[in-house]
Symmetry: C2
Amino acid sequence: MNTPRILEVRKGILKKNDQLARGLRQRFREAGVFVVNLVSSPGAGKTSLLQKSLLVLREQGYHVAALVGDLATENDARRLAQSGAPVRQISTGTTCHLEAEMIGRALKGWSLETLDLLFIENVGNLVCPASYDLGENLRAVLFSVTEGEDKPLKYPTIFNSADVAVLTKMDLADVAGFNRRLALENIQKVRPGMTVLETSARGEQGLTAWLAFLQKQIPVSKTS
Amino acid sequence: MNTPRILEVRKGILKKNDQLARGLRQRFREAGVFVVNLVSSPGAGKTSLLQKSLLVLREQGYHVAALVGDLATENDARRLAQSGAPVRQISTGTTCHLEAEMIGRALKGWSLETLDLLFIENVGNLVCPASYDLGENLRAVLFSVTEGEDKPLKYPTIFNSADVAVLTKMDLADVAGFNRRLALENIQKVRPGMTVLETSARGEQGLTAWLAFLQKQIPVSKTS
């Protein structure tokens, strides 16, 4: 019987991850940096939303940076670095999520004190990242209008573990036959009271509301 | 140090899965049923393609059935059962893929001998399902035009482990600004010579080609 042993090992990993995440959270607090963990399916638009967010936040004088997780390639880091913000890629190999330990390692040598906002773009996956705390202050789950309205019901854990849901690709809602009412209803079924922002990185729809939502969360000591 | 122990346990699981998958493959061969494992991101259109496929294949006199994997809900099984084909849902809980053992259990009581084609719809995930052989004869990776052309490069293992790639939602290609040439190029980079089918379940584009591709694979003893 393998099962009990596997469970035991998994619990061990998670416990270790939780401890490391606690350490990261403490470090982020001391540095006064607000950390956002973006999770979603592959291709839901995390990198596109982040590209726009980094650009606009920098224009507004915020100090922002990003860590990007992927199994392979450094494509996303290259895309994000065009904003001028410091960006580091974390290659996870065959691992389907980021872990606190990977974040700690990727942050080596960075002076977090100079940052207002740090974005972590997780591996595109609606299952694995749900269980791994990265010490973030806010977890945002992205959900594109082309994925189908049932995703919150089918992946309840990740919606439950997130603080805010961001609908993406709203410019495709009509052609995709997106049922907005049903999608919102399904989010609320899984996570009653959850804040939902509606965006399109291509059309820049909802970008201001998304950034205002983030800016409200930045520690006062930084913005004053 | 947890790492060596985890690796050892994972290898143990995979070895056990491979053994069970071998048993399933033998059973499928003896029953003369052709088994297709559909893998993709969440919301790439596995259920929609399958709905249409089951309907048309049944109209053409084929005996078809489906197993559907999801973390939660029986939505997909309900959608597929409308075709009149036998369908069973496998609830994986927090597991991000189907395993051979789950397939074996779900098939209990089914007389595979009466079937020509059995579809297995995997959990929506571009990472975990890659490593789990389900005893299938064909693995098809679906890839929707709204996900971005870079997905084969970012999730190479699943494209490498698949036998055929199916582009989905081709009716949205223009509005999504899909770069078809680049997507095909990226597939070929990861898996040179891979067959790629272009479909839209909504527009029924490419459905005939997809079904013809499957029909060519059904054991002759069944079709004669």
